[in-house]
């Protein structure tokens, strides 16, 4: 199996040196792991009209302390606030003080699409006459007066799809490449992979990557309720959260004496064309492990049977921040001394797949 064409033979090593977590189960890998191990489930509330679907929010979350410019809070939605908080925590955890230049950091974050601020939209739209939808399409003055006229002009700025990464960059005063991936449930994993590519390929020395989401509004919940129903109505918990990781070129991290949590060794992203989801996952896994120079055909995770076995878990765990959170889980499990390899698989609702090959910090 050849290495993924995305990965140059002379790629650089990319290590994880910091993590910032804002979740319903705590703010550290150790806390999340111990609470999961104890069978703890985040406190949640039911969703009206969607039996079995429950929502979990982060109690007491305060975004303001994490904003260098608090006035920007009015330009952010919940998931952006969670992302800014997680990014600030990750930077602090990595020991990246103000003395370390932030000019060239890459910021790559994943989330689901904008939540469109439903309450704000509802206020702006108000009661519409039956002909309004048609007129709004081809009568610009009508559209401006009846629809936009009642909408706060900041609404658009809050809901632009790239705002998650943009605000993290603004608050960290980072002026490097800035991307927000909206690949739905695998966006967080894709973000980690794209950031890895930027460093491994020699473009950047430091990147912040991960995911953030707060799928608590009617647009998101409607989609989730449909999915929940079609999946048989099993209990389904929707939670908000963010997980951001600091990735660094290994020598860069060594030179500043950074602690290493682990390493990303490979990445691949695929799509289930024609509905072959297990095939797509297998290709993603092979691509990521190829990049890690692993003997892929000996790796149990790449066999079709193993993919099928893991598929249920992957689907259950998926979400925009899935990759980042599972990476947190992996880091906690493997510990500082382990050199074990791991494979992170993520699956999207439309058959998108992403895989990251991982290694512990002790791996040569």
């Amino acid at each position: 199996m050849p290495a993924s064409p995305l990965i140059a033979p002379d790629r650089r090593r990319v290590v994880v040196t910091g993590v910032g977590l804002v979740t319903t189960l705590g703010g550290s890998c150790e806390e999340i792991r111990s609470r999961l191990a104890a069978g703890e489930v985040a406190a949640s509330r039911p969703v009206t009209g969607a039996p079995g679907l429950r929502l979990a929010t982060i109690a007491g979350f305060e975004a303001r302390p994490h904003f260098r410019q608090p006035k920007a809070l009015k330009l952010t939605d919940r998931k952006t606030q969670l992302a800014v908080a997680a990014a600030a925590l990750a930077v602090a955890d990595a020991g990246l003080t103000e003395e370390v230049s932030r000019d060239d950091w890459a910021i790559v974050l994943g989330c689901s699409a904008s939540d469109l601020q439903c309450a704000e939209l509802a206020r702006a739209l108000g009661p519409l006459d039956p002909a309004a939808p048609e007129r709004a399409v081809d009568d610009l003055p009508f559209f401006a007066e009846r629809l936009l006229g009642g909408l706060n002009p900041l609404w658009l700025l809050i809901n632009l799809p790239n705002m998650v990464g943009a605000h993290v960059g603004i608050q960290l005063a980072s002026h490097g490449p800035n991307h927000t991936l909206t690949g739905d449930w695998i966006a967080g994993t894709q973000a980690l992979g794209e950031a890895w590519l930027a460093i491994a390929g020699g473009e950047r020395e430091v990147a912040l990557a991960g995911g953030a989401d707060a799928p608590l509004d009617p647009f998101d919940l409607g989609a989730l309720a449909t999915r929940h129903t079609t999946a048989g109505g099993a209990p389904f918990l929707v939670a908000e959260g963010a997980a951001v990781w600091v990735l660094e070129e290994r020598e860069h991290a060594r030179q500043r004496g950074a602690r290493t949590l682990g390493e990303i060794r490979g990445y691949a992203s695929t799509a289930a064309i024609g509905g072959d989801l297990s095939g797509a996952l297998q290709r993603a896994a092979r691509g990521a492990l190829g990049g890690a120079d692993e003997p892929w055909d000996e790796h149990p995770a790449t066999t079709r049977a193993e993919i099928h076995r893991r598929l249920g878990h992957a689907l259950a765990a998926s979400g925009p921040i899935d990759g980042a959170l599972l990476l947190a889980e992996w880091a906690a499990v493997e510990g500082a001394e382990s050199a074990a390899a791991g494979l992170l698989l993520a699956v999207g609702t439309l058959g998108q797949c992403a895989a990251l090959a991982l290694a512990g910090p002790g791996r040569p």
Binding site: P70, K71, P153, L154
Partner: protein, 137 residues
């Protein structure tokens, strides 16, 4: 019932404090929204929307900072700067403003920096009189 000037002022102080993420105590009626309170162009969009929503009428952002002064009138503007007569007029209108910032004169581009809570209140009073045929208060 017509709102008094003080009622209008209290309302605008709250709106400005909220829009600019400031404590109410920081928003003095004569403070420059830009120079003293850190307002940016995007904040004026926000403020305009909040004021329009609260008072129920529309106006342009230029109306908000221009007040009674017309920068297109040649009696008031020469070479992109306010004439001595215009400077005297705006200084008379805002006697408690920190005019030392403009010791070298006032360019037309500086006019938004003159915007304060009180100049917004001035505008609201003019609009009230225009729309209701009687001065506020």
């Amino acid at each position: 019932m017509n709102p008094t000037r003080e009622e209008l002022r209290q309302k605008i102080v709250l709106l400005v404090a909220d829009a600019l993420d400031r404590d109410v105590a920081q928003v003095s009626p004569q403070a420059s929204l830009i120079d003293d309170l850190g307002a940016e162009s995007i904040d004026f969009l926000d403020l305009q929307f909040r004021i329009e929503s609260d008072f129920g009428f529309k106006f342009t952002d230029e109306e908000l900072w221009r007040g009674s002064f017309d920068p297109t009138d040649p009696r008031w503007v020469a070479g992109g700067r306010l004439t001595a007569a215009a400077v005297e007029q705006v200084r008379r209108r805002q006697p408690d403003f920190a005019w030392e910032r403009f010791a070298a004169g006032i360019a037309v581009a500086d006019l938004p920096r003159l915007l304060t809570v009180d100049t917004i209140v001035d505008h609201l009073e003019r609009r009230w009189a225009q729309d209701h045929g009687a001065p506020a208060g």
